[in-house]
């Protein structure tokens, strides 16, 4: 066994055959031995007729990967400077490890450097252009696949449809109810403060009913579904991509869009209007609660709400929900199918699905409102 009072040290001597680096004592990481640069400088400070370097060690020399990494750095340096580096006087195991480490001399080409600012801006412009083109291409593929489904020539697995309907319908009711009742109450409070100035509290019902049915019901439900279902679609398809399942579907002669996207899209499109009707009713109930606190009784509230909302209003809201459902499913599925194969890529795909879906929702909502306005509905 070695003594405890040993200490880390090295000597560098020069003789006719070259420079000798002699290591003594404890060189394990616990002893915090000198770095490779210190060893290199010490060796360089000696001169010898022969340029060779040799490393040797004392009997009490103790080592681990730390010293091996130092010696490896020296070996690399010597290799670059064309200096012979002789380790044959070191313990056998250390020699073997250094032999393994230095076996591959040729480093690979470095990975491509990150592009400069101009190139990045250009790439960003292109990516906006590309994503617009990709969106249109995907939309086209989905429309074709839906057409095939309607004509009964589709490969879509309809058994999946029921599963997805369950996933995005009944299982979303709780969260939709919670958000809707709160949105209804918010609308009621918002209106009540202003309307009470004119003694027209009863018109809170109009505000809540129209606000929910035409705007907040479809939009809030869509935002919930984008976060809940759109993200889930992206994560599912992204994981299938990394698991090579998408490849398998393609090589089995199936179309990923028909097989995977159509059932998901149909499920969402079928369920969304129902969820929106549910959200509208719950939102009205929330508004009614607030109104009841302001001396508008429930019968009055219902009566007023009924007179203010036409069937046309309900229809415009439901049409919106159909468009939103399609957009959420497309954003989610497109992000998932375009995902890379690593875990980070699946995460990015999920983020992209939600962000894209929400942008699509707001843009589509604005466009639809303009169109409704022009049509006078």
């Amino acid at each position: 066994m070695t003594d405890r009072d040993e200490h880390t040290s090295f000597t560098v001597t020069a003789d006719g055959d070259g420079i000798v680096l002699h290591l003594k004592g404890d060189w394990t990481s616990a002893a915090a031995p000198p770095g490779a640069a210190a060893l290199r400088d010490a060796c360089q400070s000696q001169s010898s007729p022969s340029g060779d370097w040799r490393v040797s060690s004392a009997a009490d020399f103790r080592w681990d990967s730390t010293v091996a990494s130092r010696l490896f750095a020296l070996a690399l340096y010597c290799d670059r400077q064309d200096i012979a580096f002789d380790t044959s006087a070191l313990p056998d195991n250390l020699q073997k490890l250094l032999g393994l480490a230095t076996a591959v001399k040729q480093p690979p080409a470095p990975p491509a450097p990150p592009p400069g600012l101009a190139a990045q801006l250009k790439a960003a412009m292109h990516s906006v252009q590309d994503s617009a083109v990709e969106f249109l291409a995907f939309l086209g593929a989905v429309v074709l696949a839906l057409g095939a489904t309607l004509l009964g020539r589709s490969q879509a697995r309809m058994r999946d449809l029921l599963y997805f309907i369950e996933q995005c319908g009944p299982k979303a009711i709780g969260i939709v109810a919670l958000i809707s009742v709160l949105v209804g109450m918010i609308l009621a409070y918002l209106g009540a403060v202003q309307l009470s100035n004119f003694g027209a509290e009863v018109y809170v019902a109009n505000l809540v009913a129209l606000g929910m049915v035409r705007e907040m019901g479809p939009l809030m439900t869509a935002v919930i579904m984008a976060g809940r279902t759109g993200a889930a679609y992206a994560a599912q398809l992204g994981t299938m991509q990394s698991n090579e399942e998408i490849d398998a579907i393609t090589t089995l002669g199936l179309s990923p869009v028909e097989y995977l996207v159509v059932p998901r899209l149909l499920a969402l499109v079928l369920v969304m209007p129902l969820l929106v009707i549910f959200a509208n009713i719950i939102g009205l109930a929330g508004g009614g609660l607030v109104a009841a606190g302001m001396d508008v009784n429930i019968a009055q509230f219902i009566d007023q709400a009924r007179s203010s909302v036409t069937l046309g209003d309900i229809a415009t809201g439901l049409f919106k929900s159909l468009v939103f459902a399609g957009l959420i499913a497309i954003a989610g599925c497109q992000a998932g199918l375009a995902s890379g194969r690593t875990s980070a890529a699946v995460g990015n795909a999920t983020t992209r699905a939600v962000v894209h879906a929400i942008v699509y929702l707001v843009v589509a909502d604005a466009l639809l409102n303009i169109i409704y306005n022009l049509l006078g509905v």
């Binding site: 130092r70 470095p110 890379g340």
Partner: protein
């Protein structure tokens, strides 16, 4: 060399919920061993490894590592025990959002106080050991499967572990890459003085590197035999083990004949 158990498995029963995976496992791994856990597909090899590395809790029985039961140890002690383990997973388990250098740096940052320069030196050395000199700034996805496996090995040996675990190191590799990886495992474990536990059903690996093994049977759900695979091939009491090790034909010589190992 004095034999000393690094891992001792006593009367181990493993279950997933109510489903029995294996029961009555009894074996020990000695210091310096290259120990193989073998058996047919679905017999619970990987599950056994998950128990050995403390990811799954035994339904019954004990696993002693250096005489200590991992599962009853305090959380601090568990971390200290884990520091001495290096593990490579079936699919590598490299962090895909980190470069190779950052991957190897994770355990170093967790357990050591090295300076940036020292860490870079150590990382460069560890990557060179597995033949990936100069690949520091590559991401795992930019490498081939074999290189990913070796990079995972570099991360596993970052802290000079006494115990190395491998789950199917050669899965998905061609015979040459798989053989080079086997040789690397042997060379590293010999020169670092470590103990290696490998889950595999690659006969070539089993015969060329293992000096002890346990055979798990999917039918009876227990260990069928325990010993050096080269001896089990000819002398196992169980036809199933001889059959497995000779790839179904007892007459053929095994791939990688005895005495192959340096």
């Amino acid at each position: 060399m004095a034999t000393e158990s690094v891992i001792e498995v006593r009367d181990l029963t493993m279950r997933y919920g109510s489903r029995l995976i294996q029961e009555n496992l009894n074996f020990s791994v000695q210091r310096g061993d290259i120990f193989v856990i073998m058996g047919g597909s679905g017999c619970g090899k990987s599950t056994l490894l998950k128990h050995l590395i403390g990811l799954s809790v035994p339904a019954r029985g004990q696993i002693l590592v250096n005489g200590e039961d991992f599962f009853t140890a305090s959380p601090d002690r568990q971390t200290a025990i884990r520091r001495n383990w290096g593990i490579t997973y079936q699919r590598g388990g490299l962090f895909s959002d980190l470069t190779l250098a950052e991957n190897v740096a994770v355990p170093l940052q967790q357990y050591t106080e090295l300076s940036q320069a020292e860490m870079a030196e150590l990382i460069s050395y560890k990557l060179a050991l597995v033949g990936l000199h100069g690949f520091e700034d590559y991401y795992p996805s930019e490498l081939s499967g074999g290189m990913q496996k070796r990079a995972a090995l570099a991360r596993a040996i970052a802290l000079d572990p006494e115990l190395l675990f491998f789950d199917e190191p050669s899965a998905g590799l061609d015979p040459l890459s798989s053989r080079r990886l086997d040789e690397l495992i042997v060379q590293l474990s010999e020169s670092m003085g470590g103990t290696v536990v490998i889950v595999t059903h690659e006969l070539a690996s089993i015969f060329s590197i293992a000096n002890n093994s346990v055979f798990l049977d999917a039918e009876t759900r227990t260990q069928l035999d325990y010993g050096n695979p080269r001896e089990l091939l000819y002398h196992s009491r169980y036809p199933l083990v001889r059959h497995f090790l000779s790839r179904g034909g007892t007459d053929n010589p095994p791939p990688g004949s005895p005495g192959d190992r340096p």
